[in-house]
Symmetry: C2
Subunit: 409 residues, 2 copies
Amino acid sequence: MDGVTPLFTGELIVSSSRVAALGEHVAFSGPFDREIDCRGNLLMPGFKNAHTHSGMTFLRSLADDLPLQRWLTEQVFPKEAQLTPDDVYTLSKLAIMEYLTSGITMMFDMYFSRESIASAAIDTGFRTALVGCANDYGGSAKETEQEYARFSKMNPLISYQLGFHAEYTTSEPLLKDLAEMVHSLKQPFYTHLSETAAEVESCVAHSGMRTIEYLDSLGFFNYGGGGYHCVHVSELEMEIMKARGMTAVTCPGSNTKLASGVAPVYEYLERGIPVAIGTDGPASNNCLDFFREMFLVTGLQKLRHGAEAVDAMDVLTMACRNGAYACGFPDCDSLAVGKQADLIMIDLHQPNMQPLNNIEKNVVYSGSKQNVILTMIAGRILYERGEFAIGVDPEQIYAEATRIIRRMK
Amino acid sequence: MDGVTPLFTGELIVSSSRVAALGEHVAFSGPFDREIDCRGNLLMPGFKNAHTHSGMTFLRSLADDLPLQRWLTEQVFPKEAQLTPDDVYTLSKLAIMEYLTSGITMMFDMYFSRESIASAAIDTGFRTALVGCANDYGGSAKETEQEYARFSKMNPLISYQLGFHAEYTTSEPLLKDLAEMVHSLKQPFYTHLSETAAEVESCVAHSGMRTIEYLDSLGFFNYGGGGYHCVHVSELEMEIMKARGMTAVTCPGSNTKLASGVAPVYEYLERGIPVAIGTDGPASNNCLDFFREMFLVTGLQKLRHGAEAVDAMDVLTMACRNGAYACGFPDCDSLAVGKQADLIMIDLHQPNMQPLNNIEKNVVYSGSKQNVILTMIAGRILYERGEFAIGVDPEQIYAEATRIIRRMK
């Protein structure tokens, strides 16, 4: 993915959490805990889900076919208010299971009850970047700073990125506190950014500036970071993104289903602005399927800019590499000696992968969750041929998720 | 799907090729050849792929990221010219395998070597509508009429629909011959229709009419039928489609990837014009995955018309019912007593289907090929939990498809 390790036929050795060796012929001769004959299937870095709200699995298919503002205020907020930390623990595990079936090895998760999310991630073995989501309804700069200190050192599987929910849910005094925190910690900063046209218009109305301009005027992106969605962005704002080293996390499934618009991914790539990919939460998308997202990333740009726009390798770079950097796990960007063994096996012995004219294009243009036969994180196999190894019976999670939504008013 | 059989919990009995009984409690008590405990999973009618070119599997991922005209003339036509009937037999089987993994139980296949396609369909047990594709490079009205007589009576799994390749590949003398054939046989007629803006412009340039107007002026749709793609269509042309009872077969994956445009599906539904869904061929799309198509059908309309546009039940009606009518298999539209047992089992015991807030929405918005655990056509199980029962070893098909493309110059 980084140009260091092109496609080859050979072996890959994992020792503890890392790639110990890989190549056509490797020096390691064992003994091994386990040897897997990959039968000529594809090993590749896992997909990184650079924006999600995992705990929202309970809302799947409950409130579709509504525009974003009505969906949020009529359906999402009233039900979320009834969630307990234990609920978030269970619902995050349900999302993690879905990620594993889709070859996703990392999530950048913005949701409340972050202690519960971290527990779900650690208990299942799933690599997770948490991000603060302070806004007028909860959270503060002080709490965000405390979380940063606590979660950054919690576990090798966990990172913590500074952030808040969104400009449109956060009034100026809190924004200024948060900006001060950024200046003191000098860390990258992430938030929902320019998802809908209405949100940008409202920012212009009260501040005289578009959202990215306004937040940048407070210094939020002085140390990099990025935005989730980044759909409605001006030329000036793209210049800011480029200058600050921001990543645009595109969520095409959610933006499509909620009719929010199409992010200018083609323009980001032209300007050298890194793009990562997120599923957004399962209440809006509704699924957590990176194959859907990857096809939409390229397809929607082709519809706008022609069939040559955004090719398969561009998409794989976003999916596997850029997401790792945004999440604060640079060691998970590619398969090379010393890198984290966050990898997936893609079944090429399936009709949608045949013939093998071009494997990268097959993955992006033809791939499906059906092709994911193994998902490994930090050297541990968490999913293999339909079976989960995450320390809990899937049926128990399904039953608990059902109880949570049935309990709600 | 037709409003006759809403979702219920119960049993379904298949006898020979048909549904013998279904309901909460059925009178049949056996003995049965086989009883399957569906574990609360979903049985539903199979998806009908209402436009494809199955034999093009050999071109998958070979010529992506090109606009339609260059893709056709530089890549597709020169390689297709080297295909033998045996090649088409093998390559059609490869596509059929992919359909089965995606819950597709019927194809409307436009390709040459139709004898080979019919053999592949019959030998695997796959329900297939063939369609004529005469154009200036091959085929005639006479040949089409002979094929109609032969294939219509060949096998219960095979139907034959009148058609030709496209207005832009067929000059006026041949068009007039074909129109005369339609008037004599009084049958529905299908063709590629208004896929790209360039094709419509060229029709206007030589005939003074847009494509649907022009073909209608020759009487092609006097007995119904429809068009594949129908992306660039005027208000007047929609009136023609409505008046003639035409079906618009939308192929959003292919139209997206080739940058051809977005079909006015929302407008078709508003006017009561039936819409069916096709994958188009695996050289353009590149995969034959109905879950991708179903999400795109609704998603692309939501982007244009708002989040309320084209809901999950609209999409399922297109996918399961309207495609059956277009293919000439009205008995395959739904699961009811006496209907053909063309059905699939969707695994609800997967994280992307949980919780079961709304099963129909789960299928359309969250479903994936991973959820297809059984595909039955005419009462025969052809695919079950990853295994094919189509009379041939999948690895043999993969090897033959590879040999075909490697042989080509």
